[in-house]
């Protein structure tokens, strides 16, 4: 059981290292999804939120780690 828990924890670790970064990415995707639903005539708006949101999240995560 412990081995299985360890494997599952390591699998989760493949995707989540900085929890704040992971949560920010999920929030950006959710926001882009909402914009895509509410503004179907401007699909690129969701794309722009996705791209620039991810770039900003990356910069922010690096800056946070640098300050620690």
């Amino acid at each position: 059981m412990t081995a299985l828990t360890n494997v599952l924890r390591e699998l989760a670790g493949l995707f989540v290292d900085d929890g704040a970064l992971a949560l920010t990415i999920i929030a950006i995707v959710a926001l882009a999804g909402m914009v895509a639903m509410l503004m179907p005539g401007v699909p690129l708006a969701a794309g722009a939120i996705l791209l620039f949101g991810c770039l900003a999240a990356l910069l922010s995560s690096v800056a946070r780690s640098d300050r620690r």
């Binding site: 493949l14 995707f15 989540v16 900085d18 995707v29 882009a32 996705l50 991810c54 770039l55 990356l58």
Partner: protein, 250 residues
């Protein structure tokens, strides 16, 4: 058609480079076990790991066809963003000297020291421990390779090119490892992780957008633009976070 063809090489290259990094990490652990306990437990554990991996692929692979394409693109895209940006963030911090670079020789020494300590405590079970260690290493690093292949290949029917890239990397590392019998410390792992992190993040933005119904300008070629944007921002982040070597955290 041009866009589709243009996507093959980035897919093959990303799968090859990402798998190269994972295979090098797995090889370090297999070599550590082989050094302490010999090739029998190391090899048996590695073969069992590959077998378990094959079972997972055979069992779960056909399910991919049953998932609606947009949902598959969205899920894979989000996972790629999480996975790729995690790699990229770490590579940036390592390039800037905020955290130390990964060193396969150090990882090898740490793994052999831990196995020797376990040997001191419980000699009789060590073959078993060695086998389980290589099994876990091959299975976990292999799962990363499988995820990368699925993530890069499944969205637009590029599973074969992605698999070719991944298998070529694993065979190359296995062959070189068998010949030199040493951890592959000269592989520029952080540079590879930097490049792959950029490519996976770019693919992640692309697939997530496709899953949300975004019609990207230039279709598949938009990935090149995303990669350029991630490269520019990552380069700027390295410069902004760069610090003298003496300050690097251990």
């Amino acid at each position: 058609m041009t866009g589709s063809l243009a996507l093959i090489w980035p897919v093959v290259t990303a799968a090859f480079l990402a798998s190269l990094v994972e295979a090098v990490e797995a090889l370090t652990i297999v070599l550590a076990v082989a050094t302490v306990r010999g090739w029998r437990p190391a090899g048996l554990g590695a073969i069992a790991g590959l077998g378990a991996l094959a079972l997972i692929v055979v069992a779960l692979g056909p399910l991919l066809d049953r998932v609606p394409l947009h949902l598959l693109q969205l899920v894979i895209g989000v996972l790629l963003l999480l996975f790729g940006m995690r790699w990229l963030r770490k590579a940036i911090l390592r390039s800037a000297g905020v955290i130390p670079l990964r060193d396969e020789a150090t990882a090898f020494a740490a793994e052999t020291a831990e196995l020797r300590e376990q040997a001191r405590r419980n000699e009789a079970r060590l073959d078993w421990i060695g086998g389980v260690t290589t099994f876990k290493a091959v299975l976990l690093e292999g799962l990363e390779v499988v995820f990368i292949v699925i993530a890069l290949g499944s969205g637009r029917g590029k599973l074969v090119p992605a698999s070719v890239g991944a298998v070529a990397a694993c065979l190359l590392v296995a062959a070189v490892g068998l010949i030199v019998h040493r951890p592959l410390a000269r592989v520029p792992e952080n540079t590879l992780k930097f490049a792959v992190g950029i490519m996976l993040s770019a693919f992640g933005v692309f697939w997530t957008g496709e899953g949300l119904g975004v019609d990207w300008p230039g279709a598949d070629l938009a990935i090149v633009g995303f990669a350029a944007a991630f490269l520019a921002v990552s380069g700027a982040a390295v410069v902004l976070a760069r610090r003298p070597k003496a300050e690097v955290l251990s």
